[in-house]
């Protein structure tokens, strides 16, 4: 199953589209225009993502297409608008398959978030609900590659202590520790990171080892084998991000997990 999810990236690699940094745009659909993005969206140009964990053949760079990215995570108020229009995603009606019991746990009822949280990131939402929201908004959840590129805080290959690493690995909270603008071209944008984690479309693709009580081998990602497989074993922020993602299942609804959407740049 994981292989299937990772297939788009593997396919690009197999087609000879693996790009070195600096020639990132080769083989990738060139971005048409930053002006295509809407207000409160940030344009993220095409680039390269180096997965944090090596694949069988070593370090492999993956080209990433241009996207329009929401400046902020989705708020309670925005999510309220979504469930008004889509009753099946209200907490009393959502199918159990799509969200565990803690779905929107901090809402008083189907249409009543706490007033003081309206402008804050919505949490206690499952991957299914987050994806449905983005689809209704004309977008989708970012992929791990996309999310890591804009929020990873550092490129996975950067050495600790270099300028590129600033912002990750030093914060007081795990969020500040693990997240920050990574791509230099986003430096002067209004891109904001809330004090929560965010869902990604393929959160369970990169590394997940057996959570069902059966071992999938000594390189299982959340344990000691990680260090050997990691492109940069000193990037503890990245370990925290990948470890957290690998603890998730798609129906989870957690207090410290929200989301934002992206649209493929037109």
């Amino acid at each position: 199953m994981r292989l299937l999810i990772a297939a788009p990236a593997l396919l690009l690699g197999a087609m000879g589209l693996v790009a070195e940094a600096g020639t990132a745009n080769q083989g990738v659909r060139a971005c048409k225009s930053a002006s295509a993005c809407r207000t409160r969206e940030v344009f993220v140009p095409a680039g390269v993502y180096v997965p944090f964990f090596k694949s069988g053949s070593g370090i492999k760079a993956v080209p990433v297409e241009p996207i329009c990215l929401s400046e902020t995570a989705v708020t309670h108020e925005e999510f309220l608008g979504f469930v008004r229009d889509h009753p099946n995603w209200r907490k009393s009606r959502i199918k159990k398959l799509f969200a565990e019991g803690s779905y929107l746990a901090d809402w008083q009822d189907d249409l009543t978030p706490r007033p003081e949280t309206l402008s804050q990131p919505v949490t206690f939402v499952s991957w299914f609900a987050a994806g449905a929201y983005c689809e209704a908004a004309g977008g989708r959840l970012p992929t791990v590659a996309e999310w890591e590129r804009f929020a990873g805080g550092s490129t996975p290959t950067s050495k600790p202590g270099t300028a590129a690493d600033r912002g990750a690995g030093q914060g007081a909270t795990p969020f500040a520790f693990a997240m920050g603008r990574s791509a230099p071209e986003l430096a002067n944008t209004a891109l904001a990171f809330p004090g929560v984690w965010e869902w990604t479309a393929n959160f369970n693709s990169a590394m997940v080892s057996g959570r069902i009580g059966t071992s999938e081998g000594a390189d299982s990602s959340q344990f000691c084998g990680d260090g050997i497989r990691a492109v940069d074993p000193s990037n503890y922020g990245a370990f925290l991000r990948y470890s957290f993602r690998s603890s998730l299942r798609a129906n989870f609804a957690l207090k410290n997990l929200g989301f934002r959407c992206v649209r493929e740049a037109p």
């Binding site: 199953m1 299937l4 999810i5 788009p8 398959l97 803690s102 991957w127 299914f128 994806g131 983005c134 689809e135 989708r140 959840l141 992929t143 600790p160 202590g161 690995g169 030093q170 914060g171 007081a172 909270t173 795990p174 969020f175 520790f177 984690w197 479309a201 393929n202 369970n204 080892s209 057996g210 959570r211 069902i212 009580g213 059966t214 071992s215 299982s220 990602s221 959340q222 344990f223 000691c224 990680d226 260090g227 000193s234 503890y236 922020g237 370990f239 925290l240 470890s243 957290f244 690998s246 603890s247 998730l248 299942r249 798609a250 129906n251 989870f252 957690l254 207090k255 410290n256 493929e264």
Partner: protein, 516 residues
């Protein structure tokens, strides 16, 4: 958009097998019991656990049972040292987590819970469990989730448990560790008292003692250079009123663990010898009469001892800079009758002067007084002032004292007879505040008389700031039965200036005498 639909289908497919995947652990383990010839499990009971430094009582049960153990992870801000806080990740409320005691052969059903307020995924690896990850995979859960798994305590011994979620070193360095004793079927030799001590490291962004809220520093961790090396989770966890208390002649067992995650421990009690050592936490006594025992990172040791002579003792990681500069120190108070046939204490004290050159420190000290009268005095002498200590300065001084002075002068200021002079009701301290300032600025060496007792030791110069010196002197001069005027930073500044002047004069003189 194509991708989105695809991912959704993929993830849907994952849900069913995951939920169906948890086997009924006790049933499946029970089925293997007969074939493996394991002891029969009779009944069930809740695990007996205790907070540091206490150890649950020996297990008197003669059969194996099913032990129900709940472990909850918390992420919370706690005190690491006086004036220093840190965001700990802990099993239960504290680092180390609670001491767990089970019997060889027991089946331990572990419910592992990650509090919903927590920010990262956690798990637990019992070194006492045999199976993949020691339970790491089986227990790995997101915040707001619990997982249950069961393991068999097959092998007796003292084991570490810890979080092994990535990055494992960071989870250990934030406090996620504890000890579990799998007691042999026949039990361990009976002792009068038992305690447990776990050594651990903290990699704070600020230097040792830097006040305020500190957080994990990745680059210090990767370089294996902790700011703190401590026993039982914080500086002073086993000092002062938290010292371990024993009586002369009592048999005592210490269960020692080392969470690291970087540094081996050389555990040593100053002035005591371990009678029996169970190296590396195994079940055999494999050495007698041991001065220092190694506690490996991710491992343990057990030592049995009997304190023969009463008094105040300290234990350290004998990598001594950790003890003096990073916090790896604890105390033992031993009560009982004096044993002069074993240890006399100081019997006499004489001047020893084979005619060596004068020590530099002494020269500077003696040169101060003339310089004082010759130099223009920028402020009135501190003794003349009747200022009362302000409470913030005294509070700050208390922290400085706890950090630097308690090692020798002891938390109660009584010092150590014949070795470290007392500050409590000390005529030497209270006679002259300017002299006290000089001692802190310059250190002190050579014989002095305090409350009629002669001491001949060395006190180093600790490079304190004016404010730290003023605060700590204000603290000691208004505590421990002392009542004197406060010392202000400007008093210290003035004496510092005088000393600088005196030193440059002394240097000129000594240069001149060298030429002669």
């Amino acid at each position: 958009m194509k991708h989105f639909v695809f991912f959704a289908v993929a993830a849907l497919g994952c849900v069913a097998p995951v939920q169906a995947g948890y086997p009924d652990a006790s049933a499946s383990l029970g089925a293997t019991r007969a074939s493996a010839g394991l002891e029969e499990i009779r009944g069930e009971e809740r695990a007996v656990v205790t907070s540091a430094p206490h150890v649950p009582p020996p297990i008197t049960r003669r059969h194996a049972t099913k032990v129900l153990l709940d472990v909850e992870v918390k992420e919370h801000t706690k005190t690491l040292a006086d004036g220093v806080t840190y965001t700990y990740w802990t099993f239960g409320d504290d680092a180390p987590g609670q001491f767990i005691r089970v019997r060889e052969g027991d089946l331990v059903q572990t419910k592992f819970s990650n509090h919903p307020d927590n920010t990262v995924a956690h798990n637990i690896d019992f070194h006492s469990a045999t199976g993949p990850g020691g339970g790491g995979e089986a227990s790995f859960v997101a915040p707001g989730h619990s997982a249950t798994f069961t393991w068999r305590a097959m092998r007796a011994g003292l084991y570490l448990y810890h979080c092994v979620a990535a990055p494992a070193g960071m989870h250990l360095a934030n406090g996620m560790y504890g000890l579990i004793l799998v007691e042999p079927k026949q039990g361990l030799p009976k002792v009068d008292k038992e305690f447990f001590i776990v050594q651990g490291e903290f990699y704070t962004n600020g230097a040792y003692g830097e006040r305020g809220d500190q957080h994990f520093d990745m680059s210090k961790a990767v370089r294996e250079q902790p700011e703190y090396v401590v026993f039982n989770g914080r500086v002073g966890a086993l000092m002062g009123e938290n010292a371990l208390r024993m009586n002369v002649g009592e048999s005592v067992r210490l269960y020692l663990g080392n969470a690291g995650p970087a540094l081996m421990s050389s555990f040593h009690i100053v002035g005591e010898i371990f009678d029996d050592v169970y190296s590396e936490g195994g079940t055999k006594v494999n050495q007698n009469n041991v001065q220092t025992t190694v506690v490996p990172v991710g491992g343990s040791a057990m030592v049995d001892l009997v304190m023969d002579v009463p008094g105040a003792y300290q234990f350290v990681d004998h990598s001594m800079f950790r003890a003096f500069n990073k916090g790896a120190m604890g105390a033992i108070e031993v009560d009982g009758p004096l044993r002069p046939e074993l240890f006399s204490g100081r019997q006499s004290e004489e001047i020893f002067n084979p005619g060596t050159r004068l020590q530099r420190v002494a020269a500077v000290t003696t040169s101060v007084s003339p310089a004082t009268s010759a130099a223009p005095v920028p402020a009135p002498a501190p003794q003349a002032k009747a200022s009362t200590a302000d409470s913030a300065a005294v509070e700050h001084g208390k922290e400085v004292y706890a950090k630097i002075c308690t090692t020798c002068h002891q938390p109660d200021g009584r010092g150590m007879a014949g070795v470290f002079p007392p500050l409590a009701q000390s005529d030497y301290l209270m006679h002259d505040s300017e002299r006290a300032i000089r001692v802190l600025l310059e250190g002190l060496q050579g014989p002095i008389t305090v409350n009629g007792q002669t001491f001949n030791g060395v006190m180093p110069n600790f490079s304190l700031t004016d404010k730290e010196i003023a605060s700590v002197l204000s603290y000691v001069r208004t505590n421990f039965g002392n009542a004197g005027p406060a010392v202000t930073p400007s008093d210290v500044q003035r004496v510092r200036a005088l000393l600088a002047k005196a030193e440059s004069g002394a240097k000129d003189r000594s240069t001149a005498s060298d030429r002669r």
